[in-house]
């Protein structure tokens, strides 16, 4: 299914207020496909939307290719979901943006179980909480590491466990 068709399908099921489609006008077909994204407006509806995308027979998004996170530098954080259907070979990108003070989105681990570690990485590096995650720990850094290092205004600690860190 074409991406616009998928969006129409979503909006007919959930209503126009679900989100906004941002189309890329890149020359490359691949960049148009993966660079266009659907900005979901309400995080409370994300889980419902994710189940619909996976379970609707005409959509069948059975694979979460990538879960990544973005710090926009203006006090907001985003989570980006790249989805693919291995049945129909179509892809779609969802994006959800939250202010840094309320960086919480529902976990999609119950929908795509391989979101588990990717959400833990987004928490570790960007400090986004995933509500309902079954094992919400850091994945790479130690539990007591101060802060989330991929945030734009992260400053590394001077000392960590008595070891001098900056050069």
């Amino acid at each position: 299914m074409e991406q616009l068709g998928i969006i129409e399908r979503l909006q007919s099921a959930f209503g126009e207020t679900l989100g906004v489609w941002h189309a890329s006008n890149s020359e490359s077909a691949y960049a148009r496909r993966m660079g266009s994204f659907f900005q979901v407006s309400d995080p409370a509806r994300l889980l419902e939307l994710a189940f619909f995308l996976r379970d609707e027979p005409a959509l069948a998004f059975d694979s979460l290719l990538l879960l990544s996170s973005v710090d926009h530098g203006d006090g907001s954080l985003s989570v980006v979901y790249h989805l693919e259907s291995t049945v129909y070979r179509h892809q779609i990108v969802l994006k959800i943006t939250r202010p840094m003070a309320q960086a919480r989105v529902p976990s999609v681990t119950s929908v795509w179980s391989h979101a588990n570690w990717q959400e833990r990485e987004a928490w570790d590096m960007m400090g986004i909480r995933f509500e309902g995650h079954p094992d919400h720990r850091r994945i790479l850094l130690e539990e007591d590491y101060p802060g989330h290092p991929l945030r734009k205004y992260f400053k590394e600690p001077d000392f960590y466990h008595g070891m001098k860190v900056p050069n």
């Binding site: 992260f154 466990h161 050069n167």
Partner: protein
């Protein structure tokens, strides 16, 4: 029938060597530097190939040991992350004296490519444990590791004696 008695240097039979105890100890230590089998990153691959048949580190008396209690030298072969640094320190403390440290590669010398932005990297393993020999390279070739090992042997040979160890 009487077997001929061959003069031999291999067993030392019939020969007397006059030496000081220090020299004997140093000679014994430098001839059997047992290495802790411990690798951190890509330098560890070079270290393994140095230990394999082509470069044959064992001809210098270097035998990989799986326990810090039985080893004399620890080769820090790779990036020391902040998470790993406390473990490296613990391993070093578990080794029995006399113990030696070879810092292999730019990462463990000074942080290497993580010098500027490595929020998770210790800029030099000498911030947690004392280093005897630094080997530059990214990663160092096996010849460089052998050179560093021979430098360490020279250092052990000069230990506790009034001769100058030249770098």
């Amino acid at each position: 029938m009487e077997l001929p008695v061959l003069p031999t240097d291999k067993t030392g039979e019939g020969n007397v060597i006059v030496t000081s105890l220090d020299t004997l100890f140093n000679w014994s230590r430098l001839s059997s530097l047992w290495q802790m089998s411990f690798g951190l990153a890509c330098c560890a691959i070079e270290m393994m190939s140095t230990a394999a048949a082509h470069y044959d580190m064992m001809r210098f008396g270097v035998i990989p040991r799986p326990s810090p209690r039985q080893s004399d030298v620890i080769i820090i072969s790779g990036t020391v992350t902040l998470k790993m640094a406390s473990r490296v320190k613990m391993l070093y403390e578990q080794m029995a004296d006399p113990k030696y440290v070879i810092s292999m590669g730019n990462c463990s010398n000074c942080g290497g490519p993580y010098w500027e932005y490595g929020y998770h990297v210790l800029r030099g393993v000498d911030r947690v444990i004392p280093v005897d020999v630094y080997i530059p390279g990214c990663p160092p070739r096996p010849e460089a590791l052998l050179e560093g090992l021979m430098k360490l042997q020279e250092k052990v040979r000069a230990q506790g004696k009034d001769i100058e160890f030249t770098e």
